[in-house]
């Protein structure tokens, strides 16, 4: 990789300042960024580590909201969210592998918004709020397509607030090489209705399956999904599966998640 300057601020405000320098990039675990830099797909001039800001590392249940600091590792969420929000803890416990979970963070995952990442599905289905150094962004506004988010240049994910649903489940079908989701569904049953988020499948990144949500909101049962299918149009087609296969898997994973909840 190209060389760069490295800073490790202790506070959010120092981090924001550091990120304001030209060609600065945040390092939030680096489990995606460092491999990309190795093949020189990314070449920041300054790397700002967000891993050493104590205010950004926590998992806290606050009434019916689970609050997760932006620099909290997947391993920590897997351990500490298990009581308050088991489906989210289960999602975190299945990202990558144990060594990746020791380093990868929720903020890094969300900021990157890989179309095959796990967290975006959990965030979107939970209707979580992304708290940054400067504002709060609702999940529906945050994800804006493959590798694209509402974050501005230098904006930091400080915290993610998850409304804890009545019940939820993450069902993941892995791509056999990368072990990322080929397609995965996060289904959350909120008091106000069901939310279904699909990751891995779409060329536009994580998305909500609105028809399924409507059906499940009126009747939270597998049969409620009878006849519903995700449109293959716009789904990813690659070595590991056609768009029709991914659309089909979205249906299967959603049904399995619902079945596991009821």
């Amino acid at each position: 990789m190209h060389d760069f300057d490295f800073v490790r601020p202790q506070t959010v405000s120092d981090a924001v300042r550091a990120l304001a320098t030209p060609d600065a990039q945040a390092l939030s675990g680096g489990q995606t960024l460092l491999p990309a830099m190795k093949v020189r797909l990314a070449a920041p001039a300054v790397l700002v580590s967000l891993m050493h800001i104590p205010d950004m590392v926590f998992v806290r249940a606050d009434g019916d909201v689970l609050r997760v600091g932006g620099a909290t590792t997947h391993a920590q969420v897997a351990r500490e969210a298990a009581g308050a929000y088991p489906a989210l803890a289960s999602l975190a416990a299945r990202i990558g592998d144990p060594a990746v979970r020791s380093r990868g963070t929720i903020g890094g995952s969300l900021a990157n918004n890989d179309p095959s990442a796990c967290y975006p599905a959990g965030v979107l289905a939970s209707n979580a709020t992304i708290v940054t150094d400067r504002r709060e962004i609702g999940a529906d506004d945050f994800f804006q397509g493959m590798f694209t988010t509402a974050l501005e240049e230098g904006e930091i994910v400080v915290e993610v607030r998850f409304p804890i649903p009545d019940a939820a489940r993450y069902e993941k079908f892995i791509q056999p090489a990368s072990r990322f989701p080929l397609t995965a569904a996060f289904v959350a049953r909120h008091s106000g209705g069901a939310r279904v988020a699909i990751t891995g499948a779409s060329e536009s990144g994580v998305f909500r399956w609105h028809e399924a949500e409507v059906a499940l909101t009126s009747d939270f049962a597998v049969q409620a999904l009878d006849g519903l299918a995700v449109d293959a149009d716009g789904m990813i087609a690659d070595l590991h599966g056609s768009s029709a296969y991914r659309a089909h898997l979205a249906g299967v994973m959603t049904r399995r998640a619902v079945a596991a909840i009821v």
Partner: protein, 793 residues
């Protein structure tokens, strides 16, 4: 009962301690004072003309010593091919030039064009980005059929064709086979692809070369399975270095699976540059680089036809294969689809008429060569798949159909020019059925059905040919090398022993197994025996390790050398005891005069050999060191029955392997623990080929599966525990240990078992699916089910 630590026992591996404590010495762990680093600039297009290389700016960057291109290699030989095939019409194969660095044209993604050598690897890589290469794209030749059409663009224009050779075997059988198929009661036809694979040993390749100016001597440290072969090929054919001035060392090597047999451009480059720069030069492959520079494996497109009579007896077999050579001929590439493939087409069966046609084709892809099994998996896969398909078409149980056609009398001369010495195929089949509880399968299938899953059982029986030999025969078949093996047994004065073997261990555990053999023969603690390998300066000329040959060929050489040692030691013992050497017996490390209690210990004799005061100097030389070269009379023929039970999720197409059972006949076994481990590893690679691994290119010749993000390596969670057995042993009749070899069996026998199991599951589920090309990834299985929906019950 085996002796403690002797033949048939399973002592712990002595090499493990260094690997478990991080003190192994792999090539990348070696650094030489003042070394510099090479970084290869490789083609990012599949096919193109090099219009210009501008390295001026790069050469001026920090730390850069020099940038090399093809121009620097004028007068240097190309990478040689070690096997020449003769076509059906009697012409020899088309053999293209293979320059160390691309000269004029690039022919595959990854083809090396220039090399930056700099003080640090980071500097070399930084400068490599500044090398400007102007390539005029040419159309990529990717499809083998299209490559053979008259108007196809050419990978090598000077050859006028993309055909390497058109091989027929046995050509004299061709008409008889055609006639038998034309008139048979039943003919089963199957068209299939044997998927391209990447060997992927976990240690990427490394080359580190130095040149000693005072002595004009070179040393190359390289990740090789056969350092002498590299010394011969690179010294004699590429760089013109006499062998006594070139030392090749292959230290601890982290797996090979065939991909580290071959002589690669990077080895020649580093050796050449070390002299040119008068600095040691190191190159370490990244994994991404390995995907586009290590030789690939398999990649056959085949049509096979099996003719049967009304009782299911096999009458004739015809198979036509297009074999991908890639852009250049790798070291042993031409031999793989021919002599290591056609000769195996009889399998375990009495099929009287067989004809094999193979057309080898050049394409704009990475060269293809031996990968674990090399030709034999391709033969076994098509044969065991077509037999299974025939069984279904004729309504005969697949086990029964195989049994009806098993060879039962040995030696057996096949119609494809080989002679099996021993085997008992019914025994391995019986063992498989018992170990896998085949009788209980229907009940288990019913239990799966109740859970909405489709369970299937797949079977395959295989024959393997190990220890390719003898040299005079393979010479007639086109080999440009001998295929013997060597060993020097050096007994030290106090009785300890150093064995220098031409075999090379890169995971097989020779340091343990070979010591078991020598220790057992002499009757001393194997801890007294050390095995030395992997260094041309320390070992006699040897051909290395591949093709499951180490114990059968290398082990035999070691036995012969040890026999010479024992014969001489007996003479010394006879002298010490003033007896006749014919009356001397060696047992448990003591020489005894038969029928008496008079004896001398091993150590007394070895000391006498080196301190020859009381010694028959007029009759025998002092010292106790012997070398043997062993050239086998024949191949060895391991065989076995493999069974696999799978469950298919009909909603997703995902296949779960529930159990895998292997009943192998490896002849005598030296270390059962190590043999089991070899089978496990082979099965996992067979699983990978059948279920996950797929080296894929797009139509433009870009490698799609270019990293572990897209090339699916089997992981622990994908596999079950295996049940393996090698007690159905029929010892080899023509080597001193009665051994056959076990390294590749798992990868040869298992792919058809996996695929047969999935087809069985789908058919039981009512899907009229007769074939799916490997790998049977979930999307492929699901799509096959969609195309072949559930039959009406």
């Amino acid at each position: 009962m085996p002796k403690d630590g002797g033949i048939g026992d399973s002592p712990k591996r002595r090499e493990d301690v260094r690997f478990l404590t991080g003190t192994g010495r792999y090539s990348d762990d070696i650094n030489i004072y003042n070394q510099v680093y090479a970084y290869f600039v490789r083609s990012d297009v599949a096919h193109g003309r090099i219009a210009g290389i501008d390295a001026e700016a790069a050469a001026a960057m920090p730390g850069v010593l020099r940038i090399f291109t093809a121009r620097d290699f004028e007068g240097v030989g190309g990478i040689p091919c070690g096997w020449q095939i003769t076509s059906r019409d009697g012409s020899v194969m088309n053999e293209p030039k293979h320059p160390v660095l691309a000269d004029g044209k690039v022919r595959h993604v990854g083809d090396p064009i220039a090399v930056v050598v700099a003080e640090t690897l980071a500097q070399a890589r930084d400068a490599a980005e500044a090398v400007v290469i102007d390539i005029e794209d040419l159309p990529a030749i990717m499809d083998m059929r299209a490559a053979l059409t008259p108007d196809a663009p050419l990978v090598h224009e000077d050859m006028g064709t993309n055909l390497c050779y058109d091989w027929g075997f046995v050509e004299d059988n061709r008409q008889a086979v055609d006639d038998a198929i034309a008139h048979a009661h039943h003919v089963t036809t199957l068209e299939l692809r044997n998927n391209r694979l990447v060997a992927n040993p976990m240690e990427p390749r490394v080359a580190l070369a130095e040149w000693n100016a005072a002595a004009d001597e070179y040393t190359l440290y390289t990740t090789s399975q056969n350092p002498h072969v590299i010394r011969l090929l690179m010294g004699a054919f590429v760089l013109g270095i006499p062998e006594h001035k070139l030392r090749v060392v292959a230290p601890d090597v982290g797996g090979g699976f065939g991909s580290k047999i071959f002589h690669y451009a990077e080895e020649a480059f580093c050796t050449f540059a070390a002299k040119a720069l008068r600095r040691p030069v190191k190159w370490v492959s990244s994994r991404s680089e390995a995907f586009m520079s290590d030789a690939h494996g398999r990649d056959h497109v085949t049509k096979i036809e099996l003719a049967l009579d009304e009782n299911g007896k096999f009458l004739a077999l015809r198979t036509e294969t297009l074999a991908n050579m890639g852009a250049y001929l790798s070291t042993f590439a031409p031999s793989i689809p021919t002599w290591l493939h056609g000769t195996l087409m009889a399998g375990n069966y009495t099929t009287p008429l067989i004809y094999v046609n193979v057309k080898a084709v050049f394409t704009n892809t990475v060269p293809v060569d031996a990968y674990r099994g090399a030709g034999r998996p391709e033969a076994t896969y098509q044969l065991e798949r077509v037999v299974d398909k025939a069984a279904r078409e004729m309504g005969i149980d697949p086990v029964d159909l195989r049994r009806r056609n098993f060879i039962t009398e040995f030696p057996y001369a096949t119609p494809v020019a080989v002679e099996y010495d021993t085997g008992d195929y019914h025994a391995t089949m019986d063992k498989l059925l018992a170990l896998s509880d085949h009788a209980g399968f229907e009940a288990r299938a019913e239990e799966s059905r109740r859970r909405g899953m489709l369970r299937g059982f797949g079977i395959a029986h295989y024959i393997e040919a190990c220890g390719i030999a003898p040299s005079n025969l393979v010479g007639q078949l086109g080999a440009r090398a001998g295929l013997y093996e060597s060993a020097t047994v050096r007994v030290n004065a106090t009785g300890s022993i150093s064995v220098m073997t031409g075999s090379h261990s890169h995971g097989q555990g020779h340091e343990t197994t070979f010591a078991q053999v020598v220790g057992d023969m002499i009757g001393i603690d194997p801890a007294q025996v050390d095995i030395i390998h992997g260094d041309t300066a320390r070992t006699p000329m040897g051909m290395g390790t591949y093709g499951s040959r180490s114990i059968a060929v290398g082990g035999s050489a070691m036995v012969r050398a040890t026999e010479k040692i024992i014969a001489k030691a007996k003479k010394i013992a006879a002298h010490l005891m003033e007896a006749s050497e014919h009356d001397i017996e060696l047992k448990d490390g003591r020489f005894t005069i038969a029928g008496t209690d008079r004896s001398v210990a091993w150590g007394d004799v070895t000391l006498a050999a080196y301190v020859p005061h009381n010694y028959p100097l007029e009759e025998i030389e002092p010292g106790l060191e012997e070398t043997a070269f062993y050239d086998p009379a024949n191949f060895t023929y391991p065989s076995g029955a493999y069974g696999c039970e799978v469950e298919v999720d009909p909603q997703t197409g995902k296949v779960t392997v529930l159990s895998f059972t292997a009943a192998d006949d490896f002849g005598n076994v030296i270390n059962p623990m190590i043999v089991e481990g070899q089978v496990h590893g082979g099965l996992a690679q067979g699983f990978g080929q059948a279920m996950m691994e797929n080296c894929a290119y797009d139509a433009d010749g870009q490698l799609i599966s270019a990293s572990y993000m897209d090339y699916a390596m089997p992981r622990a969670a994908d596999l079950p525990m295996f049940t393996v057995d090698s007690t159905c042993a029929t010892p080899c009749t023509h080597n001193p240990l009665g051994v056959k070899g076990c390294g590749e069996a798992g990868a040869i026998g298992s792919p058809p078992a996996f695929v047969n199991a999935v087809i069985d599951a789908l058919q039981r589920g009512g899907h009229d699916v007769t074939h799916i090309d490997m790998p049977l990834t979930p999307d492929r299985v699901w799509e096959a089910m969609q195309e072949r929906g559930v039959r009406d019950a």
